[in-house]
Symmetry: C2
Subunit: 242 residues, 2 copies
DNA sequence: GCCGCGATTTGACCGGCGTCAAAGCCCCCG
DNA sequence: CGGGGGCTTTGACGCCGGTCAAATCGCGGC
């Protein structure tokens, strides 16, 4: 163990060098030699689709970074209504730092690989590596900006506008030019999860998508998640009314 | 100028020593001697009630910390619907770091004193003082947690529940025991601002408050902002239904 | 192919909250 | 003391989106 630490201090651990999330995760702040500090406390973990990484109310022992896959972060009311308050993609940091108890539930939207760390050890590592702390600050600020945009959507936009905004986000994140001049996007989550993300119900989401299809703005290929956006400008017009 | 910097490097600038926000602002991370770094780039500024510190869409030149007073951070749609996405109190940091353009509008809810900094200079100071950066990270994480709680409220709670939650927040923040065994709270903002904060309309806020009064849960003294909570447990029960 | 199950879509209905309007209240100022 | 303007309350009404229910689709297993 000690020996391994010493050797890996001079060259990055193999698991890290081949890591798909390296480069856009917090690890990017670490020089190859420093990675051993994280490597020593990190464990790889695979999370099957649907399974929770942790539950709101549990003691908050672990944090992680997403290596591959997607997670949702949800908050819920005492009677079970649920709101997705964040989505996490490869490279994103997972967890609530500096808090003894978790207030949010994190679970996998599809099969997901994580690099998990004991929270206490991670926080210590953070203190020792200001570059990593700085990177985390930037990410947290981005997440906060995102959260604020979603507060506007949840508080002030109607169902049509929320759907349009969501689809435009997907265009930006996953859009690829389609044959017919439209843009093909993946919709990586179920209707129910879209509803939880947008603060709507499944039925409303489905109806709105049907209307957009009827209006010739969207087209669905049968039997797959995803669709192609035929008239992006129309979505923009819905999102930003005069 | 240079001379002043040198002298103040050995003892904290007088303005900082007497600052009411010292101790719970980012400055708390600075030893007395370090404060000159902030002092040199900071300017005091007084903002009359209602006036904006900056507008969404402007170049993002300045940030600040709140010395005294209260600010609101608002996001709005292209057609003018407005959502308050944050409230700022003495000691809180004001501004969107690492962004060239402001996406949010910040304005004073009452007469407010700020200590403002050019954003670029502040970011440089941050780099030189990891303790301050760490404090900012903690605050940003708290703000993110708060934002997520508000997403749940805006996305999944009805008007009654939002009002109850808001009042309970005020009890925690400003509550003082009242003569009749109730808790006296200050409501430091107008009905319109409450509505913007809660994602409701003025009329709905007013109606809900009237209902709580009729139910004997709240009592309003005539002619002042504020009220006393007679039955806090009832508010809890509204916020967390079975 | 056929069945069964979950996800999605569609329909009917209704209630909460937004909208529009008017009245009331408070405070400032003359 | 009276008048005016802004904030707040209250009322009437309509619509959006939630609820309940049923039909349809998609897919895997046998």
């Amino acid at each position: 163990m000690l020996l391994q630490d010493r050797t890996s201090a001079s060259c990055a651990p193999a698991r890290c060098l081949s890591c798909k999330a390296r480069g856009n995760s917090l690890c990017a702040a670490m020089a190859d030699g420093e990675l051993s500090a994280l490597h020593a406390i990190g464990r790889r973990r695979n999370l099957p689709a649907g399974q929770a990484f942790n539950w709101a109310g549990d003691r908050n022992h672990h944090c992680a970074t997403v290596v591959e896959g997607m997670l949702k972060v949800t908050a819920s009311t005492s009677d079970g209504r649920e709101q997705i308050v964040g989505l996490l993609f490869p490279g994103d940091f997972v967890g609530e730092l500096f808090a003894d108890d978790a207030t949010l539930t994190v679970s996998a939207l599809c099969e997901t690989d994580l690099c998990t760390y004991p929270r206490a050890a991670f926080e210590r590592t953070l203190e020792d590596h200001p570059r990593m702390e700085r990177l985390l600050l930037r990410r947290t600020l981005l997440a906060l900006g995102d959260a604020r945009g979603r507060m506007l959507a949840l508080g002030r936009r109607n169902a049509r506008e929320r759907i349009a905004g969501f689809l435009l986000d997907l265009v930006e994140r996953t859009g690829r030019p389609a044959a017919n001049g439209g843009t093909r996007i993946a919709i990586p989550i179920s209707r129910g999860e879209m509803a939880d993300y947008l603060g709507l119900t499944i039925e409303t989401v489905s109806r709105q998508l049907s209307q957009l299809k009827a209006a010739g703005i969207l087209a669905f290929a049968k039997g797959d998640r995803g669709c192609t956006v035929l008239r992006e400008a129309s979505l923009q017009a819905i999102l930003n009314p005069a």
